[in-house]
Symmetry: C2
Subunit: 343 residues, 2 copies
């Protein structure tokens, strides 16, 4: 009907292969469209997934940046973007926020700050907020990383709030995970309680111009020391014996002081991140980590499919019958589940 379809309408009509071609040719709207398809799930997401899977092997470095709310992750990501760009590479950024109807709104100040890079065509930033079922974020994130890799971003930064099971899982699913804390014993303790010691490859004590930064660094180093003496507690890839390896050269996560707002110390963070990648390659760990991630992703997909099957049971006559028994407290949730599954 429309004589002149808008660019969005044009994108909407193209299939994933066409979108991928356009995205590779530099059409930014096409990248956004591919990511929207992935986020939405379903058949179109599957087609994007198939189209971007093989080329994803070419992603050079996936870097997770995580830490407590307010630790200054976005500002640090800003600095890392600049470092990647200074090296001549293009970079994709996924900012993963917990589900909230407000995530898209005006209060999302940190996303706005990142728009310093809005005019740089070598940077693509996307904020992902899963409004779907639990596990949605964990499923969509690796696919979105593959899209960014497939359209020509060799470096992908993934920023998550590092508190919570799903968020720690996403953050840990990177080649290199940077954990950001702020001065003060509380933040280090909370990072430890949230399981971030175990996933950290590089620690950054951000806002290091504040009081207590040196103490926080020392505390973290002490905790890492403790973790190293706790067999199996912390991730120590290079000492792994999987695959017959028993490499004595373990990676010890460095603890760096930085002030992302001024840029102080952020070059050293970038150096540590690239050094960690070099270590993974030398230790034969990069590929192993990626393989483990693929298998974990497949398992998550299987569980997601089965969960959908469970939801599809709802509304059926058998479901209504069991539901009534449950609500009358005649069967407990386990017995009710068994009655629905053991048919």
């Amino acid at each position: 009907m429309d004589a002149c379809p808008s660019p969005t309408q044009r994108s909407a009509r193209r299939d994933p292969e066409q979108l991928l071609g356009a995205a590779r040719a530099g059409e930014r709207g096409a990248i956004g469209r591919l990511l929207s398809l992935v986020e939405r799930g379903g058949e179109a997401a599957r087609a994007v997934g198939r189209a971007t899977f093989a080329p994803s092997a070419s992603v050079e470095h996936v870097i997770g940046v995580t830490g407590s709310p307010g630790a200054g992750k976005s500002t640090l990501v800003d600095r890392l973007i600049a470092a990647v760009r200074a090296g001549g590479d293009t970079v994709g950024v996924l900012a993963v926020d917990p589900s909230s109807p407000y995530s898209g709104g005006a209060i999302l100040g940190d996303r706005i700050r990142m728009q310093d890079h809005a005019l740089d065509r070598g940077v693509f930033i996307r904020s992902m907020a899963s409004r779907g079922h639990q596990g949605g974020l964990a499923l969509a994130a690796p696919e979105a990383i593959r899209v960014l890799a497939a359209v020509g971003m060799p470096v992908v930064l993934v920023e998550t709030v590092g508190v919570g099971q799903v968020e720690v899982e996403i953050a840990g699913a990177a080649d290199t995970t940077v954990v950001v804390v702020t001065p003060g014993w509380g933040d280090a303790v909370q990072a430890s309680k949230a399981g971030l010691l175990e996933v950290a490859d590089v620690f950054v004590v951000n806002k290091a111009d504040r009081e207590g930064a040196a103490e926080t660094r020392r505390d973290l180093e002490a905790m890492l020391e403790m973790a190293a003496s706790f067999p199996g507690a912390a991730r120590s890839p290079a000492t792994s014996t999987v695959g017959g390896l028993s490499d004595p050269v373990a990676w010890r996560p460095p603890v760096l002081l930085a002030t992302a707002t001024t840029g102080e110390g952020t070059d050293a963070v970038w150096s540590a991140v690239t050094a960690h990648r070099a270590h993974l390659v030398a230790a034969g760990e990069l590929e192993r980590r990626r393989e483990q991630r693929l298998i974990a992703e497949m398992e998550r997909v299987m569980i997601g499919r089965l969960a959908r099957d469970v939801r599809e049971l709802e509304g059926g006559a058998r479901f209504e019958e069991v539901r009534a028994e449950l609500l009358a407290r005649r069967v407990d949730p386990y017995e009710a589940a068994a009655r629905l599954l053991d048919r």
Copy 2:
């Protein structure tokens, strides 16, 4: 062999019904043993679940307390325990921490503070840290609440770190959810981003003796105003039309200032919590929320069972074949999942 078994050994030999009897008779070790069985899962947990399911209908009030790390949740919980005890009721407390190998260790300062109540036999405090698979916490929490109810605790407090999908889910699975923030715009914004506006029944701006408390209260009220004008964005139980209800008396979450360390304002928090329960009863919502929770729990159990089936596939010949195809990047994780499930 042992002539004199220790109390723990005696507990270990008793079945759930016997443990329940002992727990009801005031034997605290038996309560701990029942909770350990629930946390561990498996057949013994099922037996405990069956034994405690029907009596759980008698729990009077499940209160969730959640908020950012460092917001002072544990100290506020301490004050709420005192308020419950002043009213003559016994109270159970579940402190749910994200998985960490250190949770049981010396750095868990907030658990130690709660030991103010350690000598009060009307208070039972338990720290739960799931080291198991994702979803483990969400599954174990409602069962643990039922154990506490069944052994005679009419009031149960559940404290969680309110950042992260799973944690928000657990916090929201209470009759009344208290969200704790500290002065400063950042904390309110983060609460909103984490989805806490949607689950809050009572807001507490804790550490109200600090600068900015009044502003934070005003900001939260403005956000709640915004949420109220967003249909479907915030939880507004009493305006729900489920079951033909269209009650005009909606609950508007109060925003209260408190300083838990001194006790300033915490009586008003307790009053708001009990007023919220009275509102739920008057609006016919208490039972409806509990029914929704039971159904959600049954679904989670089903998904957990299916996930276990998925893990059991591993190691099989078919799994190894598909795994090899995946790692060779010949099939993507979705196709691999389909090959394993569509047999």
